[in-house]
Subunit: 199 residues, 2 copies
DNA sequence: GTCTATAAAATGATAGAC
DNA sequence: GTCTATCATTTTATAGAC
């Protein structure tokens, strides 16, 4: 068996291991020892590809906030009405959250870590998040044959605010029914900011 | 000068010092040494009133989540319309956030710490948060002479979701104008779930 | 290149002088 | 009761054997 790995593969393996460790026990639990143990590597391998624990955590922050969070919102319905489409997109995000709460908790912690450690980077990645949401809204408009009656950035921000809020609230109380209720109300709210396009 | 303090006063002083340390550098920075230094006490004094660092952090979590977050929402306007009243309440919360972002960042971190360390306690305190918001909504209804047309728990949850979302989003991008925009839209949204009471 | 063994620093907790 | 000095543990980081 060849134990030799490329440095890039080793870094990636350690980043993924770190995410799993953080999901289980929080950022504080992500010691170099815990991470290499999770990745089934000897301790020495760590400093072979990372100069410090902070460098690993920065790479983790960079990796996970790089669009991973919004992926689910792209799961749009075919041929459904506007409100149903928005509701379905939010619901698919909620399903992802429910399927792996520890992971989402870890993402939240890492987001805070990034905010403290490198606010400028956190801000840039937050910006990408907005752009992605705007793209989703444009896609929704096209599929449903509507036009948004309010500025896209404002609508995108409302959805991001609500998404973050639902995440935080559900992580605290795990009340799925209540979360779905909010979600439906939000879908109706957002759908009210659209008008039909007569083609 | 009498250096003697009652154990209760000492505990409280250490808790307040811990909150300041956490606001500056996160939960990870709240080492026993850092906290006693902030409180201007010798290291030995720490274990004189706390058996462990975890006990201090638990007390901090208990203290801060104990209704401190919602205090601002009680700042209601006199004699204003419904939408303006809700908007003013949300705006006063936002002002508090802007006035001391590090503190709110610390509260968020501590909330996550509590969620990991003692989920049951975190859940109970989250519940209190809901009840407080419902009380605010009842108060608003009374002052504005309206009746809510949707279940109070659902309205309260929507407002908590939005409040958490605005907090997280503003902490990330510090875009105050955008936050105020969301806030106004939310006030209109919530105000739509009410009808006049003819007395 | 890989990994074991160890150094160096930080931290939680305590013992014992005053 | 108070606080200094110290211990034991944990952790990051590195040196050196293979």
């Amino acid at each position: 068996m060849n134990r030799r790995m490329s440095p890039e593969a080793r870094r990636e393996a350690l980043v993924q291991a770190a995410i799993r460790v953080i999901a289980r026990g929080g950022v504080a639990a992500a010691t170099t020892r815990a991470v290499v143990a999770e990745a089934k590597m000897p301790l020495g391998a760590f400093h072979y590809v990372f100069t410090s624990r902070d460098e690993l955590l920065s790479e983790v922050v960079h990796t996970i906030t790089d669009g991973e969070r919004m992926a689910a919102e792209l799961a749009l319905l075919e041929g459904a009405g506007l409100e149903a489409t928005v509701a379905a997109a939010l619901a698919s995000y909620l399903d992802l959250l429910i399927a792996d709460p520890d992971r989402e908790l870890a993402l939240t912690e890492l987001s805070l870590y990034g905010l403290r450690h490198d606010p400028a980077l956190a801000r840039r990645q937050h910006q990408l998040y907005f752009l992605e949401m705007e793209a989703v809204l444009r896609q929704v408009a096209e599929r449903c044959g509507i036009r948004w009656t309010e500025p896209l950035p404002e609508l995108a921000r409302r959805l991001i605010v609500v998404t973050e809020g639902i995440t935080g609230t559900w992580l605290a109380d795990r009340d799925t029914d209540a979360a779905r209720g909010v979600l439906r109300a939000v879908a109706a709210w957002v759908a009210a900011s659209a008008e039909r396009v007569d083609a």
